[in-house]
Symmetry: C2
Subunit: 245 residues, 2 copies
């Protein structure tokens, strides 16, 4: 039997299968802390709780394409780098049915974050409280960003707290040796802004001269020649991210 013949007689629906979805962790910064875009579920299941934007994977779209579609439809964003994070497959993670979800991580500079908030009124910004240091790992809490950010952490739907915790862990791990830090900055930025990003992600202050040296020695920073404006003190040089050839 030829391979073509075999395929024509193959029944793709012979077995039951889990549903497949993507969930997006859209991270930004807020007041020197990591924050995330969430939407409050209006419908069952988990009505009223807060969830990551997500959606089912269609038969004729890749995982990456599904992530991009959710990014566009639920956050109104395009052209944002989306990276696969992990695939979650616990049996009871969704009460409706068996759903396996591929989590994606995207980093939004302040402009994109605000754009999403403005364009999609259902989205809210939540601040992530990371109670552990370094790459210890563990649970994280999310707090409302608007208003006073007091007490009451938000209740997350499904296993989204777990997804969020892994996103933070992954981000911290990649910060040193990859270029993820720049994804949270505008095109032109100062070294202090870059350091602020690193400190927000790592949750710990960094030594300034050492940080400057490391970043400049890495060769990824191209000075633009211009300086920041609007300061009441000496303005800092503006740099541009330029991947080494």
């Amino acid at each position: 039997m030829s391979e073509a013949k075999f395929l024509s007689g193959y029944d793709p629906d012979a077995y039951d299968r889990p549903a497949l979805a993507v969930d997006l962790v859209l991270l930004g910064l807020h007041d020197g802390r990591p924050s995330v875009l969430l939407l409050q579920r209006a419908e069952h299941p988990h009505a009223g709780r807060w969830a990551l934007p997500g959606g089912f994977v269609a038969l004729d779209e890749t995982l990456d394409a599904a992530a991009e579609r959710v990014l566009r439809d639920k956050a109104g964003l395009a052209g944002i780098q989306c990276e696969q994070l992990y695939t979650f497959g616990a049996l009871d993670r969704d009460p409706r049915m068996r759903i396996v979800s591929v989590a994606y991580l995207a980093l939004l500079p302040e402009r994109a974050f605000g754009e999403a908030l403005d364009g999609m009124p259902k989205l809210s910004r939540a601040v992530i409280d990371v109670p552990w240091t370094g790459e210890a790992g563990g649970p994280v809490a999310v707090l409302p960003a608007d208003g006073r950010m007091r007490g009451e952490p938000l209740a997350l739907a499904f296993d989204h707290a777990e997804i969020l915790a892994l996103a933070i862990l992954r981000l911290r791990g990649k910060l040193d040796y990859s270029d993820v830090g720049f994804a949270l900055l505008p095109e032109h930025f100062t070294l202090r802004q870059l350091q602020d990003v690193h400190e927000a992600i790592l949750g710990t202050p960094l030594n300034k001269p050492a940080f400057r040296r490391r970043m400049l020695d890495r060769g990824w920073l191209a000075p633009t020649g211009s300086r920041e404006a609007g300061t009441s003190f000496r303005p800092a040089e503006l740099y541009r991210f330029q991947k080494p050839s």
Copy 2:
């Protein structure tokens, strides 16, 4: 409407969905090079080509459980640490139908590798030829390990070459700062054996005193007091891996 009521009326089969599978990269070492367990496909599609052991994910099993089941049924192994690697979702990766596959990576010490080969006659060992250095990434080739290992790389089925390449990349990346290297060694081992493992994975020779110092300073090695046997020269101290408290 209560959540319970909502759930009772929910139709899980409302939409078509991709099939979900797991594929296992079972890595070991052979003659100082990374090697992998493969099986030659007897049936369509891709009959005759070489594939990673895999299987579909059942409705009532988690992804990790599916990986363990495949490890048991197709490699005859149990109690091996399996770690999720990446999820592959290209549209045409399987000609039968749309299949999304969650790849897992497991490291087999020589004993487990041989055990799998003996217990499952269909499995073969293939040596992985990594033509790039460091973490540059890129395609890899697989060569038959038995016999002379001459020319003719094996033809891999589906996108399994891509999966394999990512496994190598991930392994190289984690080698420095994690304990993955020990997973390829027996319970008791010498520093030279540990260095051999690192050199095989990285594909580059390492400086001996510097390697010794780094490993010992890390505090993960507990000397056993005994020494290796059967050498015609000074036998080395045997160590045991002991995760720091």
